[in-house]
């Protein structure tokens, strides 16, 4: 089953700067991009092409590293090297700054919304992960500050269905957090990568976690069940059930797990984009096998920083690069 990636459009989104992140809105109709020019841009489809609908250039003083949509699609969060996280509210076609979350000591690397919509997580070079709560009056407050990493934390992601958080960092570790009593704690540390872990992605059911690293591998972690399932709910136990090595030429900066098809996409420092698919999962769930279904060696002219699957249209993929562009692709699993 050989697949292929077809280029639909290439956009020079952030000229003369890196494009760090692209994120699809929950409806799949808008794409947010951000970059080294300190700006956030919102793109929508007009006819056959993607056009810029909105520019937020004054929200941050430095590079915007990550943008994330709230589950309802009405809010956008942006994490910046200026140590702040900005929350934007969408009103018609415009976005206005609602509030600015301060507190991190230095560059905020990632921001992510929980599926419930009222929790947010951020992580920073200050080695900490912050969990924020938003109330009915759109007021944001810090719930917890967790210091489980010993170095720069690169990525945070929420579990698709449970109130569980995962983070990855420069210390080669992946941490899993849960709320215990009234505070968030690290309940599991996943070790195995030999270098910086850049990104994480849960599978659609939330049973497995994919991590990608500077060590050029992707690891798949599975939550181990103790016989009849989660008897002691406090402790988390995850083990590595698969390692994809030998496929990537350089650091893998991002990994994305498609909610619709289960396909796994990676963004690599060798300028390539790859898509992996799982072989028949019923053979042995404890030892999944993935094969590389598609590989586009020169997807961009420089490092690919981010990859994101469209949540509504199967096979639609967005990627962005150090050369300031983003690209929209159509992935076909058999061609």
């Amino acid at each position: 089953m050989k697949g292929a990636l077809e280029l639909l459009q290439r956009v020079s989104a952030h000229p003369d700067a890196r494009c760090w992140c692209v994120a699809w809105s929950p409806s799949g109709t808008l794409l947010a991009s951000c970059g080294g020019d300190c700006a956030i841009k919102i793109w929508g489809k007009e006819g056959d092409s993607w056009e810029c609908k909105c520019v937020m250039a004054d929200g941050h003083q430095r590079t915007v590293r990550t943008v994330a949509w709230s589950p309802c699609g009405k809010y956008l969060a942006s994490a910046s090297f200026d140590a702040t996280t900005c929350i934007w509210k969408k009103t018609n076609d415009d976005f206005e700054s609602l509030t600015v979350l301060e507190g991190h000591e230095n560059e905020v690397k990632c921001v992510t919304w929980a599926p419930s919509g009222n929790l947010l997580a951020t992580c920073s070079r200050d080695k900490s992960v912050w969990i924020w709560e938003v109330d009915e009056e759109d007021e944001y407050e810090c719930v917890s500050v967790v210091n489980s990493h010993t170095q720069d934390v690169k990525h945070v992601v929420w579990h698709p269905t449970q109130e569980l958080l995962a983070s990855a960092g420069y210390d080669n570790k992946v941490c899993i957090y849960k709320e215990v009593d009234d505070d968030w704690e690290c309940r599991a540390t996943l070790e195995g990568h030999e270098s910086t872990v850049w990104s994480l992605a849960f599978d659609p059911e939330g049973q497995r976690l994919a991590s990608c690293s500077d060590d050029r591998t992707v690891k798949i972690w599975k939550k181990s069940t103790l016989g009849d399932g989660e008897s002691d709910s406090s402790d988390e136990s995850w083990k590595c059930v698969c390692t994809l090595s030998g496929f990537h030429g350089r650091t893998i900066y991002d990994v994305a797990w498609c909610r619709l098809t289960g396909a796994l996409a990676t963004a690599c420092g060798d300028d390539g984009v790859r898509v992996f698919k799982e072989e028949d999962p019923t053979v042995d769930p404890e030892q999944p096998v993935f094969f590389m279904s598609a590989h586009l060696p020169k997807a961009h002219g420089q490092d690919v920083n981010c990859v994101s699957w469209n949540p509504k249209e199967a096979g639609l993929l967005a990627t962005c690069s150090d050369n300031g562009e983003f690209a929209i692709w159509k992935y076909n699993s058999d061609s």
């Binding site: 230095n106 070079r125 200050d126 917890s144 500050v145 210091n147 170095q151 720069d152 505070d183």
Partner: protein, 454 residues
């Protein structure tokens, strides 16, 4: 290496790598010489460094030293190794002074005073399965046998701190209409909180912080001021040690504001933690009602209720707000809120408090701010639980022992009143003020791209 400093101080760029010291508050002065020649650096067997010039000339290089005095827990620290930060303060230092006392003539001897905090006593009591007073008894005996001349209880100096805090609050409350930064008054006894406030929020937050000295530094004033004059010795002849529940108190003791330049001595020479003391002893003890972090909220609330509104409060009713480390107490009359006080412990809650303050949304009149979750009884320098005990269980035990001590009401304590009269009133308001109050200084941040690690 886990730092023992409170969580608030840990959120910095401390690591073991030397980065260009742009952000260091007290960078080491480098003597630069003109010339284009290149020199080599040779390391001798004993670890000393020699610079060898092109023409073979050798020159011993000075070792860069950062003492606790220089370091205000800023984020540009050369190295986070604890040995650098606390070289001057450990129980070894105390032993060294005691040893020296035995070897020198009586005129050169130091008068050694040890002030023990109630929190440390409670920690030791829990560890050894004794009562707090038994601990105090044994500790005094032990210390005196070592050569310590006087053992005090910082519960006593805390009475002064509480009294002065009460007065300061009333004074601020009365000028709140003209001074927008009078309220909320934020407690100042926790040095972890002070260091964080000075470094991160600077000029914005400092006017809100109570200038009343903490029990440790109030004791410093008392010992090197009143006590010294009573004993007919000069302040530098006294070696004052305090036993505290956390390492942050070491930083507090080394603040320049607590250095008596006239006598070239610090008010508190050495701070050792509960964990640093291995045996115990005692003396006359003073407990106070309220939290295990000094009871500031409790005392100021009761005093203010009485003095400002004529309300006698017996028991305070605490309401948990977001979590157990964020509690509120309100005084209401005829549906109107007269006083709104809060106890805010731990970094995450301090964050929210400061952000609310910045946005002008804080409703509080007073906040007891402490850097450690669960307060001072849970300080980083307290004794750790035994293998069959959880942190939670130990903390509960320590709290029980702490509150088991007989409490006193500072306003009714005759000894405190006497001392206040004879010492502070005799010297007059001008001189008394610096003995009871202190100042804060914003730390300037220097963000420089050179120190960024990707």
């Amino acid at each position: 290496m886990a730092s023992h400093f409170s969580g608030v101080l840990k959120l910095t760029d401390l690591d073991d790598f030397i980065t260009p010291s742009q952000a260091c508050v007290k960078p080491v002065k480098v003597e630069k010489k003109q010339g284009r020649s290149v020199a080599k650096i040779q390391i001798e067997d004993d670890g000393s460094y020699f610079q060898v010039d092109q023409d073979g000339q050798r020159q011993k290089l000075e070792k860069a030293k950062i003492t606790l005095n220089d370091c205000l827990a800023c984020s540009g620290c050369i190295t986070s190794a604890e040995s650098v930060l606390i070289t001057q303060q450990s129980h070894e230092e105390l032993y060294r002074v005691l040893r020296q006392n035995k070897q020198v003539s009586s005129s050169e001897q130091k008068v050694v005073v040890v002030s023990v905090s109630p929190q440390s006593r409670a920690s030791l009591a829990a560890h050894y399965g004794l009562s707090s007073s038994e601990v105090a008894r044994r500790l005094t005996s032990f210390l005196k046998n070592l050569g310590v001349h006087h053992v005090f209880d910082t519960g006593f100096s805390r009475s002064f701190s509480l009294l002065e805090s009460q007065r300061e609050f009333l004074e601020r409350f009365r000028r709140k209409e003209v001074d927008k930064k009078a309220l909320p008054m934020l407690a100042s006894a926790c040095p972890g909180w002070i260091c964080y406030a000075e470094k991160t929020h600077g000029e914005f937050i400092l006017p809100y912080i109570s200038t009343t000295r903490s029990p440790q530094q109030m004791m410093g004033s008392l010992v090197k001021g009143y006590f010294a004059s009573q004993k007919g010795v000069s302040p530098q002849q006294i070696y004052h040690v305090t036993v505290m529940p956390c390492y942050d108190k070491k930083l507090e003791a080394s603040r320049p504001d607590f250095y008596l330049s006239k006598y070239e001595t610090r008010e508190v020479d050495c701070v050792i933690t509960s964990g640093d003391t291995y045996q115990i002893d005692s003396y006359e003890l003073l407990g106070h009602a309220g939290s295990g972090s000094g009871g500031y909220l409790h005392h100021i609330y009761k005093h203010a209720a009485k003095q400002l509104f004529g309300v006698e409060v017996d028991e305070l009713t605490y309401k948990t707000i977001k979590n157990k480390d964020f509690q509120e107490v309100t005084l209401e009359k005829d549906g109107q809120v007269l006083l709104r006080f809060a106890a805010v412990y731990g970094f995450r809650n301090i964050q929210n408090l400061v952000q609310k303050l910045k946005r002008g949304k804080s409703q509080y009149h007073f906040v007891e701010v402490m850097a450690c979750p669960s307060g001072s009884l849970n300080g980083g320098g307290q004794l750790k639980p035994s293998s069959d005990q959880t942190n939670k269980e130990l903390l509960q035990q320590v709290e029980e022992l702490y509150h088991g001590e007989r409490t006193s009401v500072p306003e009714q304590d005759s000894r405190v009143a006497e001392l206040y009269q004879s010492w502070l009133e005799s010297v007059g308001k001008e001189i008394a003020r610096p003995l009871l109050h202190t100042q804060y200084h914003a730390v300037e941040k220097n963000t420089n791209g050179l120190s960024i690690k990707w």
